[in-house]
């Protein structure tokens, strides 16, 4: 199985591990990630305003690249996933928006939501299958892991359709598959403070603290996430347990500590 | 003998349960309306066949009014929903053929709406009178 892969800028820079482990694990699990040529930054957030076109063009270009290749598009970063999925939804369901975007790009190949968009986790669950992942586990994890979803991967639920936004299980399933013990805690789908960390660090700190305290109280020894900003906020704001990307956790179980870069 | 100008003639089909009762209520409340309108009682507005309307025009009616229960209140639960579709399409077709659309009208009149019935008849009669005689859809043989 082949996918067009949209890593996003942060994964090329501050979150290289996230990207490298995603690629390594894909190799082991037997699917191929073909990076989008010259991808542009997704913009980090989806602007909900009806008259915002320009900020969504890079997502449309990525979607069109996948459409052209005739392959599904996959992302690992929750933020990229959110922007691309929401843009795709708008292209599919909002004809006015789609007309304006297509009119702007105007390359003779209009896009109307033809590309299937997956999050890496969805590929594991819906295409590879967790049972297949399980077969490849060499070093089963023996720890309590708190899955941290944040908001971008889940909401708006009607568009993202990744999982039940109020009680997601996809990362828990992965943790179990890898031999770990998922820890359920109330704040797993609440916001870490997000981009407000730039303008109001104190506020972001409160939100992050609430999240990792909740995970710790529930017995988590480690937190996994799919978002570089979540990881940054939690780590910077005093999480005293490790915060890893879920791909890193997978790499631990599939490849082992030693091979960790 | 003086030749009178022909008064416009209007045939009204009223469903037994709402609109006919609404017309009765207009009477009970002594609300005046023009005598041009003659009411034909049908069990439900959905009994009104398009040919009844064409027949009326053929025979010299200048306007045709169809009254039924408000959608959702039909005595037979769904009858007026069919009426609504049938008449929408029929009237659109008549307009397409060049028949003035002011000559046809559907109005939902409940048994409590005597005033609405009277007002509808007033307005409709005025609209039809303004058009004058129906010449586009009549059968000359019926004029003797």
């Amino acid at each position: 199985m082949k996918f067009i892969y949209y890593p996003g800028c942060t994964l090329k820079n501050k979150a290289k591990n996230f990207d490298i482990d995603a690629r390594n694990c894909a190799k082991i699990l037997g699917f191929e990630l073909i990076e989008v040529d010259d991808f542009q930054c997704c913009g980090g957030v989806f602007t909900t305003s009806a008259d915002e076109i320009a900020t969504k063009l890079s997502a449309v270009r990525a979607l069109k690249a996948a459409k052209k290749a005739g392959l599904p598009l996959v992302t690992v970063c929750s933020a990229c996933h959110n922007v691309i999925k929401q843009t795709d939804h708008a292209m599919k369901n909002d004809p006015v928006f789609a007309d304006r975007v297509n009119g702007y790009i105007n390359d003779g190949d209009d896009y109307h939501g033809e590309t299937k968009v997956y999050h890496y986790l969805e590929v594991l669950r819906d295409i590879t299958g967790f049972d297949k992942v399980k077969e490849k586990v060499k070093y089963p994890l023996d720890m309590n892991v708190g899955a941290y979803y944040g908001c971008l991967m889940l909401r708006p639920g009607a568009v993202m359709e990744t999982d039940d936004p109020e009680n997601p299980q996809i990362m828990e399933q992965l943790i179990k598959t890898l031999g770990g013990r998922p820890v359920d805690y109330g704040m797993k789908n609440e916001c870490c403070g997000g981009y407000v960390t730039v303008t109001d660090p104190g506020f972001a700190q409160k939100r992050s603290k609430a999240v990792y305290e909740s995970a710790k109280k529930a017995g988590a020894e480690i937190i996994v996430t799919a978002c570089p900003l979540c990881r940054y906020n939690l780590t910077k704001n005093g999480a005293d347990i490790p915060v890893l990307y879920f791909t890193q956790l997978m790499a631990k179980a599939l490849i082992g500590e030693k091979n960790e870069r | 003998m003086q030749i009178e100008e022909k008064k416009p003639l209007i045939a009204a089909f009223c469903c037994n349960w709402c609109s006919y009762a609404g017309a009765d209520l207009a009477g009970n409340n002594r609300l005046n309306y023009p005598d041009n309108v003659k009411i034909i009682r049908v069990p439900c507005s959905c009994r009104v066949d398009p040919t009844f309307i064409l027949r009326a025009f053929q025979r010299g009616a200048d306007g045709v009014l169809i009254c039924g229960c408000h959608p959702g209140d039909c005595h037979y639960t769904t009858g007026n929903y069919y009426t609504r579709r049938r008449m929408t399409l029929l009237f659109s077709m008549l307009e397409y053929l060049g028949i003035e659309k002011e000559r046809t009208r559907v109005e939902w009149v409940s048994a409590a709406e005597g005033a609405k019935f009277a007002q509808t008849v007033n307005e409709f009669t005025a609209a039809v009178s303004a058009l004058g005689e129906n010449r586009r859809l009549e059968d000359l043989r019926c004029k003797e």
């Binding site: - | 040919t51 959702g72 659109s92 060049g98 000359l140």
Partner: protein, 319 residues
């Protein structure tokens, strides 16, 4: 020029007869003139090989014939249906007019049919013979010799905007799809743009040509009533000939209304009208309105679908 050639059709029909699947075939037979093709029930392969024709004049839609034909015997009848014919076929199935099990449908891809009127407009009267060759029609006329007409220029109006596909078949010859991109409602819209007086004048001049030959009704695959209201003394609408203007209008309005929501827009009514009345413009008005008011609907597209006039939503528009 048809995409599928005659021999393929014959092969398909012969196979059904040989295997005993069907014992007769409803197809097109040569008529008096090349352009005058008539429906015929072929009872043997020999007969088919001899008289069966397939070409640009095979416009006739056989769906309606199946009502009587299926009732004749318990054996299956094979029938050729072009994409547009299959919609009529389905519509009749929806209305329980015959049993699907008694018919073998051979779906035939169609490249559009020629309109003899268009040919006559170019070549004039006195057509002795028409041959098809490489996308052209060679028209042999008594007065002007051979006139060469591009097949495309002779295409019937209904074919110029055909986007139909074979929606039902047991066997399909070719892809069974058409993708013309003309707007079939263009003429309707043009009329709608006119003033009331102009519309009235248009229809008055068109409908006054009507001679009440009933050809439109007799060919119409939606007009399959056991007893037509215009023939039924009980109906009060009965009359044999239009006595005046009103009756022409009444007849055509009522006929269009009776088939509204069931008309598949096959265009047979206009094809057979000896007076060239554009009757399909009445049907298309209803189709256009139905699409605009109640959502896109194509009669006969799906088995079991509910016609718009026997359906409703609580939110329908007001008349």
């Amino acid at each position: 020029m048809q995409r599928i050639n005659r021999s393929e059709l014959i092969k398909a029909a012969a196979k059904l007869i040989e295997s005993g699947e069907a014992d007769r075939v409803l197809g097109w037979k040569k008529g008096e003139f090349d352009y005058d093709v008539t429906p015929y029930v072929f009872n043997s392969i020999d007969e088919i090989e001899k008289d069966f024709v397939w070409g640009d004049f095979c416009g006739a839609n056989f769906s309606k014939y199946l009502i009587k034909e299926t009732a004749k015997s318990d054996k299956k009848v094979a029938v050729f249906l072009k994409p547009c014919d299959t919609y009529s076929f389905n519509q009749l199935l929806i209305e329980h007019r015959f049993e699907r099990e008694k018919v073998c449908v051979i779906g035939v891809s169609c490249s559009g049919m020629a309109d003899i009127r268009k040919i006559k407009d170019t070549a004039g009267e006195g057509i002795a013979k028409i041959e098809e060759q490489d996308g052209y029609l060679n028209v042999f006329t008594l007065y002007d010799g051979i006139v060469k007409i591009d097949s495309k220029d002779a295409l019937a109006e209904r074919c110029l905007c055909c986007t139909k596909r074979c929606v039902v078949y047991d066997e399909l010859l070719g892809d069974g799809e058409n993708k013309a991109d003309n707007d079939r409602f263009a003429k309707v819209e043009e009329l709608e743009e006119l003033t009331e007086e102009q519309r009235y004048a248009f229809w008055k001049s068109e409908l006054s040509k009507c001679i009440r030959c009933n050809a439109c009704r007799d060919v119409c695959p939606a007009c399959t009533c056991e007893k037509c209201v215009f023939d039924d003394p009980r109906s009060v609408l009965e009359n044999k000939a239009a006595a005046n203007e009103f009756e022409e209008k009444l007849y055509h309005i009522i006929r269009a209304f009776h088939v509204a929501g069931r008309c598949t827009d096959c265009g047979e009514c206009s094809r057979v009208c000896p007076q060239n009345i554009p009757l399909h413009l009445l049907n298309r008005k209803f189709i256009k309105d139905i699409n605009a008011f109640y959502g896109q609907y194509q009669a006969g597209e799906k088995a079991g679908q509910r016609a718009p006039l026997v359906d409703y939503t609580t939110e329908d528009r007001e008349p």
